[in-house]
């Protein structure tokens, strides 16, 4: 330990040199995460509504979808999309495959969150809307979803962080997001510890921003709840 140097642990010079390249990848990461979260929310909403439908022709496929997506690793889904689908003539860009894979995979989780949030809104709200002559969609959009949003915000924020971290898996299908770029730099400099610590800190920073966003949204959503 006599000749220990701090730059073995974290080589600041290398870190700073590679930072622009890594940060460009961080933008990719954020972009993939945002787009995937957007689609995961929309798909999740419809899967949740299908899952809650009385008609088994809708609820059963939704159940199967949720079960399959929660029961398979995201990595395997990405491999199927990028390396498997070309066998049947469906080829796509790595970025496209990543966004589709992540959205579809996480939509199963958002669906379950949205479903539980919707069912935790009291039945009386449905009845009141019914007697006020509002139809299903009017009630859903104007009465139920705004209240469900409040309940779903914390778990949805967690899912968003899972998505952000999940984007790192896209490196295996050659998407040049942040983690992929870190590997590239390690290949050139052999500074593995420095680079991996660097990206870990950046992932953390992005997720910390999500927490801030969550706090802000929760405050907004809770404005009608007595302190």
């Amino acid at each position: 330990m006599a000749d220990f140097k701090w730059e073995y642990l974290f080589n600041v010079e290398i870190a700073l040199d590679s930072l622009p390249f890594i940060l460009e990848g961080a933008w990719q990461t954020i972009l993939i995460a945002l787009v995937s979260m957007f689609f995961a929310l929309i798909m999740g909403l419809f899967v949740a509504l299908a899952r809650m439908n009385r008609f088994i022709g809708l609820s059963l496929p939704a159940r199967l979808f949720i079960s399959f997506m929660r029961g398979t690793p995201l990595l395997v889904i990405l491999f199927i999309l990028y390396f498997g689908f070309p066998m049947v003539g469906i080829e796509m860009e790595p970025l496209t495959a990543a966004i589709i894979g992540i959205s579809v995979h996480f939509s199963a989780y958002t669906a379950e969150i949205i479903r539980s949030a919707i069912s935790s809104v009291s039945k009386g709200q449905w009845e009141a809307a019914e007697t006020l002559r509002m139809n299903y969609w009017q009630t859903m959009i104007r009465i139920i979803l705004p209240q469900a949003t409040r309940i779903a915000l914390p778990p949805l924020s967690s899912t968003f962080m899972d998505i952000i971290k999940g984007t790192s898996l896209a490196m295996v299908i050659t998407v040049s997001e942040m983690f992929y770029r870190a590997k590239v730099v390690v290949g050139q400099t052999y500074e593995s510890l420095t680079l991996y610590i660097l990206v870990a800190l950046i992932y953390w920073a992005i997720c910390a921003l999500v927490t801030l966003l969550q706090d802000y949204l929760e405050k907004k959503a809770n404005r009608y709840v007595a302190a």
Binding site: G124, E127, E130, R133, R142, Q147, A226
Partner: protein, 249 residues
């Protein structure tokens, strides 16, 4: 105006309503009293199709629905509900909307009416129930009595021919009951047709044109409030009233 014929309601094995027949005229105020579990609330909810009767028929104005055990169609529900409004025991105000937003919500979204007109009308309704000062507050910030008055204003915004009250004061602290009953009495004076399920015997006596006593899913006895309360003919009614009045004394 309302004609109920041989209405029955079965929940699994339990027959909650047993062939109820009933007519209510325009402008009439009818109170339904009876022990808990007697079917009062179920009957009221059947009038608005919040519950689907198992058998029998229901007519409101020119809309007639016959029940055969199937869920009524969307159109039947809409047709029946166009005439009526419900006030719930637990208010069911929309918590994420202010008082005035609660009131304009349905006319705005369902009837697609002009928002400025609705806001003006809503202020009139809030004045009437004594909540104008609270129009921009959220339901959470109101007392129980205020919440119930807001809920009444909300349904009045749709100008229902028939108002249904499901134990409107049962969830309230005793000192808040009066303010809600006062609002309902005013509606009675205006000639609003109402059916009220209630445990407030004095109120039922004072406000109703007719009192219906229900037990075990049957209409046991009905008549003018002074007859029912002073000289009930059925033993079941006598026992019930005795209990209620004893408890109070």
């Amino acid at each position: 105006m309302i004609k109920v014929e041989n209405l029955s309601k079965q929940f699994d094995d339990v027959e909650v309503l047993k062939s109820i027949s009933l007519e209510i005229n325009k402008g009439e105020v009818v109170s339904i009293i009876g022990p808990s579990g007697s079917g009062k609330t179920t009957l009221l909810r059947c009038l608005n199709l919040l519950e689907t009767p198992s058998r029998g028929s229901l007519q409101i104005n020119d809309v007639h629905v016959t029940f055969t055990g199937k869920t009524p169609s969307k159109k039947q529900k809409i047709d029946i509900r166009q005439f009526s409004g419900m006030v719930f025991q637990h208010f069911h105000l929309f918590p994420h909307k202010t008082v005035i937003e609660n009131i304009i919500e349905a006319p705005l979204v369902v009837q697609k009416r002009n928002k400025q007109d609705l806001l003006r009308e809503a202020e009139g309704l809030l004045q009437k129930v004594g909540l104008l000062d609270h129009k921009n507050q959220y339901p959470e910030q109101l007392s129980g009595g205020q919440k119930q008055r807001a809920a009444i204003a909300r349904i009045l915004a749709l100008k229902p021919d028939l108002l249904l009250f499901d134990e409107p004061t049962s969830a309230l602290d005793p000192e808040l009951v009066g303010e809600v009953l006062t609002v309902i009495k005013e509606l009675a004076l205006e000639g609003q047709t109402m059916v009220i399920v209630t445990h407030e015997m004095d109120f039922a006596r004072e406000v109703s044109d007719r009192v219906i006593f229900i037990a075990d899913g049957h209409i046991v006895e009905q008549g003018k409030p002074e007859d029912i309360f002073k000289a009930p003919t059925e033993e079941r009614t006598q026992k019930f009233l005795q209990k209620v009045l004893l408890r109070r004394a």
